[in-house]
Symmetry: C2
Subunit: 328 residues, 2 copies
């Protein structure tokens, strides 16, 4: 658990928190012309000759102004008996995927989605090489019920100096399967899913989109490269990048059009640079629509109750994706 008082409001202001709405457009720090509202950019794709931190960009990456982690490799530890804490070490960035305040990924030109993916790769590689980084997570929150606090479409990157428990569990499972079977559990899952076919949503030459067998929520969907690759940083630019952009965009479009633009989260799970799991792990994207509320049962048990079978979710999205697919 991370304590981040940098983000804090006063305790007595919490009563208002649930009633806040997203920032209005004229105050949006991610819109062109408002570049001075963010910390200086760490990456931008813009026309040649245009100065940094001005207009003219089509992708812009900036440090998160409300960072839960700080990039201090020499963070301190404190112990008092069994009570132990250390500084929250890490980098937090915001990846603005388009100058257009109102353009979600599902409606961007395909070429722009590829540029967003390229920015993911660039920043992933940048952080994964740092010695103190244990884990790099790239994620997207869509809609306020899914935790988006600003309306302008943006992804987030966290590079942290800790093992992430949810990811560590997955990694341990993959390592165990590899030891027992000398095979990647994700490659095996792709084979099984393609044979069963009932949970497949979409396939192209380099990616498979499917509803996982133990889906946590209605319409949970995974996007996985067919080529065995542990690290997202190894995305092949000529073959895999456009295929990933296509798979992601069509899935998001099917979700948006089929389910009336529901809130969702997605994140990329990728093996940490240092972990020696090149054979056992297989990077992928997990997309989790927010159509129900985790309540006392989920908190108390750590279990999810899913009211839709993954086969039904997949059939619904498969049909939709055929309707929304267009030539790239």
């Amino acid at each position: 658990m991370a304590v981040a008082t940098e983000r804090a409001r006063r305790p007595d202001s919490f009563s208002q928190a649930v009633k806040e709405s997203v920032a209005a457009r004229d105050l949006c720090p991610f819109c062109p012309g408002h570049e001075a509202m963010t910390p200086p950019e760490v990456l931008a794709y813009r026309a040649p000759g245009m100065p940094a931190n001005g207009e003219g960009w089509w992708i812009r990456v900036v440090p998160n102004l409300y960072a839960a982690f700080r990039p201090e490799p020499d963070g301190q530890e404190q112990r008092a008996g069994r009570f132990w804490q250390r500084d929250a070490i890490g980098a937090c960035e915001v990846l603005i995927s388009s100058p257009d305040h109102r353009a979600p990924t599902s409606t961007l030109p395909r070429r722009q989605v590829e540029e967003m993916v390229q920015a993911y790769v660039d920043r992933y590689r940048h952080h994964a090489q740092n010695a103190w980084v244990e884990h790099v997570l790239i994620l997207y929150n869509h809609g306020r019920p899914a935790g988006a606090s600003l309306e302008h479409p943006h992804s987030q990157l966290y590079a942290i100096g800790l093992e992430a428990p949810a990811f560590a569990d997955e990694l341990d499972g993959a390592r165990g399967f590899y030891r027992a079977n000398a095979a990647c559990v994700f490659c095996r899952t792709l084979e099984d899913e393609r044979r069963a076919a009932t949970r497949i949503v979409f396939e192209n030459e380099a990616f498979v989109v499917f509803a996982p067998y133990a889906a946590r929520t209605p319409f949970e969907t995974w996007i996985m490269p067919r080529r065995h690759t542990a690290s997202f940083g190894d995305l092949d630019p000529s073959r895999e990048k456009p295929a990933f952009a296509e798979a992601l965009q069509l899935t998001l479009r099917a979700l948006q059009e089929g389910l009336n633009d529901p809130p969702f989260n997605y994140f990329i799970h990728s093996a940490p640079a240092k972990a020696d799991v090149a054979d056992a792990y297989h990077w992928h994207l997990e997309l989790i629509p927010k159509l129900s509320t985790a309540a006392g049962f989920e908190l108390g048990t750590g279990m999810w109750i899913n009211v839709v079978k993954p086969e039904d979710s997949a059939a619904f999205l498969r049909e939709r994706i055929q309707k929304v697919a267009e030539p790239a």
Copy 2:
């Protein structure tokens, strides 16, 4: 992960789900006079001579009409390669804590809170003795953002034939600590917390209320018996029951009045009947206000970011609880 299509709506109706409001009063199945809207009661406290499933009750427990689990001890398993499923075995009940549609626990007469606790104990013991039951969870969801689908105050009970992962992790930790130290980790925590004092919210003769060291959310609060007891079913009726009712009600009242009635979840973690952990485990209640949204970061990492230090949460609630405490 549990699939519960009994609860399902059609996929294309999900787009409306987030916009639903709580049921209006004249349709409330939990109000007196509407007893026929629920399955027949499994427990009720009512005046002598009044017939079952009519009015006159002050506590009423009924099976959950939208049960995610079904009480079928002979549930089936299916295997297809590595894909494995079994029937969701369990009992789901609703504990209606007052005939008054508008009376949350924080405003009930203290005597009524004790009756609610008695109903918790009665139903806990009833289910914990069943051979197929692995875990009994009693929980409360308050407010729609915390998953309450009906406004009339009610608790829920799940008796399930599975290990619950979140609880199993806690149990493993307690077992490990006991093996290493021949002591209960929760008893030790109570000692440490009382010595540190900074995270204590309230104490009475039998319970300690405190903000846990690694609080997941602002104002997360635990209520723990001072007496070492693994099972909630062993709550002492003369000494502990009124003290638990007091601690719970004052904490909820401080939360409601101090933070403008925020949504919250609470649940009771109690050692399963069969688990041989009488020495290692210590039952308690975990109260988790819903003041922020779990988003991509929390889903992707399994970590929580808390924007308020537990010491500040505790100081705020400690001050509030002094204001709201009245003689029982």
